[in-house]
Subunit: 222 residues, 2 copies
């Protein structure tokens, strides 16, 4: 029972513990309510103590963000269809970003940590197997990541609850249906077709990008 109050012992505060605790807190209560002071309190430690382990809040969040996207590449093994591999890793990335508020912090800039680098490696590897020259591969990689991450950032606020989301879309369509016919005739005519669901929108865009940016799969792998 001596080891019970490990939190208040000296030297027991590590990057790993801080990071893991932060991730759990964000997973449970969302990124908006997270703060450096909050994780310090949860760890039973003075806020200032965290500055022995991280430069500042941004430094901490970048590591938390990378840890959050770790599931994207976990257990990934390349198939013999590079198209498939790219689609798989991007779809997983979107799902993880929508599921964990923590993953969203990766949008504020590259973390340059392991999970992020692994996603890059998998995608460029797939491009290489498709026979793409490095300039084209790099360009395709950037466009696709920009699309997936950008969409995730925009869609995340509504991703929490499915029922909530449907209700919001219905309200937004109603907003368009109430527009004045003089100023917005075409929007009014399209009101009932708007907001077809963010996952459908995402898939349509992804298909378009993949079709244009990647060459066809080599015949022996079809």
């Amino acid at each position: 029972m001596v080891e019970k109050k490990t939190r208040s012992q000296r030297g027991h505060l590590t990057r790993d513990l801080i990071c893991q605790t932060s991730l759990e807190m964000i997973h449970k209560d969302g990124l908006a309510s997270f703060s450096l002071r909050a994780v310090a309190k949860k760890l039973g430690v003075d806020p200032a103590a965290l500055y022995r382990h991280y430069e500042d809040l941004d430094d901490l969040l970048r590591e938390v963000g990378d840890r959050a996207i770790a599931p994207v590449t976990k257990g990934f093994v390349a198939s013999d269809n590079p198209h498939w591999d790219i689609r798989r890793v991007l779809t997983k990335l979107r799902k993880v970003m929508l599921g964990s508020g923590a993953a969203l912090v990766t949008a504020s800039g590259p973390t340059r940590h392991a999970s992020e680098l692994q996603i890059t490696e998998i995608m460029l590897n797939a491009c290489q197997r498709l026979g793409m020259p490095p300039t084209e591969a790099a360009m395709a990689y950037h466009v696709l990541i920009e699309y997936v991450v950008g969409s995730a950032v925009l869609d995340a606020p509504l991703a929490s609850s499915k029922a909530n989301r449907a209700a919001t879309y219905r309200k937004w369509r109603a907003d368009y249906a109430a527009l004045s016919p003089e100023d917005y005739p075409v929007s009014l005519a399209h009101a009932s077709y708007l907001y077809p669901g963010s996952d459908n929108v995402f898939q349509t865009g992804l298909d378009a990008l993949l079709a244009h940016l990647l060459p066809p799969v080599p015949v022996d792998h079809q």
Copy 2:
């Protein structure tokens, strides 16, 4: 000279004045350093006074955001090439979002104010002129907006200074060039081709999306 200290007079605080002042402040010093208290101080008014005119900070920012994207549609007249019109409004939207930190707040959700609605109307109108059925038009609209706004949110932090941006890209390429050949062989091989410039990346993606989502221009308008 009686009208000189208009700020401290009663009844002179209007939504328009608050909004305009906020926009100017964000334009000058960026969104990060903006606060409700800061605009109150600039107006020579107690922070609490703003709550007579706006529900909360979010309410204020939504109006500021819409005002920031007003230049996108200002003076727009439809050409006889709908493809061209869509490309024009989206390119302008990106430029405005990268140029004014204030425009970025529109990414946190629809403002449902005039400027935003006008962009929608222009885009759906162009789709209609291309002969697209409403379901397809709505889908294309959502995909394109998601792409443009999402990219702008990700690219904005680096959009400020061109020299700064080039230096940052160089540093990021160097990060990749320093990776271990065992863990990241393909990334290492692509190091010098990464980060070909966010505007190039954007254009490549936009071209791919337009080519796939829009039907060809009617022959009599080519």
